[in-house]
Symmetry: C2
Subunit: 245 residues, 2 copies
DNA sequence: CGACCTGTTGAACTCCGTCAAGGCGTGTGG
DNA sequence: CCACACGCCTTGACGGAGTTCAACAGGTCG
């Protein structure tokens, strides 16, 4: 991991924070273009603590919105309970990603954030982040970019939901998970680890568990993937790319 | 097309701008909480010009992203052409709303913005807006809130797409159009004007034109709505509310 | 008038949801 | 250590909502 201030003597704590790039992943989730001094300002407002066991919630939907959370390790699902009592999984998040942004401008988080594995996060108080954004144009730009990207990604999900068959959505999901895993340099690119349950995946994709199971079974019978309990093995990557179009 | 501040009496110009609240609607789409002086700063970066006839594009998907556009009057649809050549309608926008926000952080608009009626817009150069946000915390907060709200709205669309039948989605759409129209104090609340084609509505809702037509016919046969060429007439508002749940 | 576009209607089909049963892995208690 | 129960996943059979294909109606514009 790079540290462009290695020569200067610093407080050990700050050093550690710089090292973890706020979130502990290879990619900094925030402050990518800031100078060392500016980055320090950002670190000053971040609470690095926060470790959650599988199933524990980082925030609940009825909690009042106060902070964003940068995921340092592990993984998180966002889900909410609808009026009719049904749960809907809104997304899965991995190291380097920010959760809580969906709640910006609202007074409550609209979702439960649930750790899927042993998960460490940084808490970033939003009011302090806003103030800092006013002082650091690059940070402001970064947040705006991140939100814009999020909107585009949600729009894409809508379009995919409308135009793609269940099989294609499943393959696209697997592909994205694999890409994500590849970018984080965890595991090899053929074995996609699934920290979440198949039921959660189905829910996220807008399918019944049975439909997801059938899609996976079909893909396995065609020799494209191998379906393991907590893992998808990619047997024919070209066929996957071809099928998602 | 430029800010021709020098060529007009200054007070008159500012007065006119204040009057139109940037976008010409009753609701200010930006600068809601700013003081008069701050609002003036905002107006300084806005180009008020821009009139488009039905079918004309305000920006194209391949244009490089430079500005947001506040709709002053008329209506706009956002659509994009997918790789396979199919068009997908991403949304409909009305006076007081901002378009272009989906492109923030990207170098191109990903959509075509097409006027549905005679439409007037204000152009807000995004780089200048960013600078101004750094100076005006309330404006920054407003933009962030707006983006957060957008993300939530897109998430809701996904959930609705997964959980609601075509009939419910159609009713929800009509309901939202009506609410929108009501908030803008245009027309009465029983006659919902449709500036876009039925085909566009179907596309937006992820349906085939035939399916939308069938849904509307069914609702009409049940005495809940009346289906006109460019208008939906609401006959039984209670039944509508009840059906969308 | 005829060409054309949008919207509507009918009939057959298909994908996915629903309902029901059973398999498999894990944890617990006898 | 095995028996059993409980979740989670899988498989099968069936039905229904929405798509597809095709024909047609109604308005608009040359």
């Amino acid at each position: 991991m790079k540290n462009n201030r290695g020569s200067k003597p610093m407080l050990h704590l700050i050093d550690e924070m710089l090292d973890c790039n706020i979130c502990g992943s290879n990619h900094r989730c925030l402050g990518e273009e800031l100078s060392a001094g500016q980055l320090e300002e950002l670190h000053d407002i971040v609470n690095t603590h926060g470790t959650y066991k599988p199933g524990e919630t980082i925030f609940k939907m009825e909690d009042s919105f106060k902070s964003l959370y940068a995921i340092r390790s592990g993984s998180v699902k966002l889900e909410s309970i609808l009026e009719d009592g049904k749960a809907t999984v809104k997304g899965f998040f991995f190291p380097g990603e920010l959760i809580g942004v969906e709640a910006i401008g609202d007074n409550k988080y609209g979702d439960d954030a649930i750790a899927l594995e042993l998960t460490r996060v940084c808490e970033i108080p939003f009011d302090r982040l806003e103030v800092l954004c006013g002082a650091l144009p690059k940070l402001q730009h970064e947040i705006l970019t991140l939100l814009g990207h999020k909107i585009r990604s949600r729009n894409n999900a809508i379009v995919n939901g409308h135009h793609l068959s269940s099989e294609k959505r499943v393959l696209l999901f697997i592909q994205e998970l694999g890409l994500n895993q590849f970018n984080r340099h965890t595991g090899d690119s053929k074995h996609i680890h699934l920290p979440m349950s198949k039921g959660d995946i189905a829910n996220y994709l807008g399918l019944r568990p049975e439909s997801l199971s059938r899609a996976l079974s079909k893909l396995q019978s065609e020799g494209i993937i191998k379906n393991h309990p907590k893992e998808i093995e990619l047997l024919d990557i070209d066929a996957i790319s071809e099928r998602v179009g």
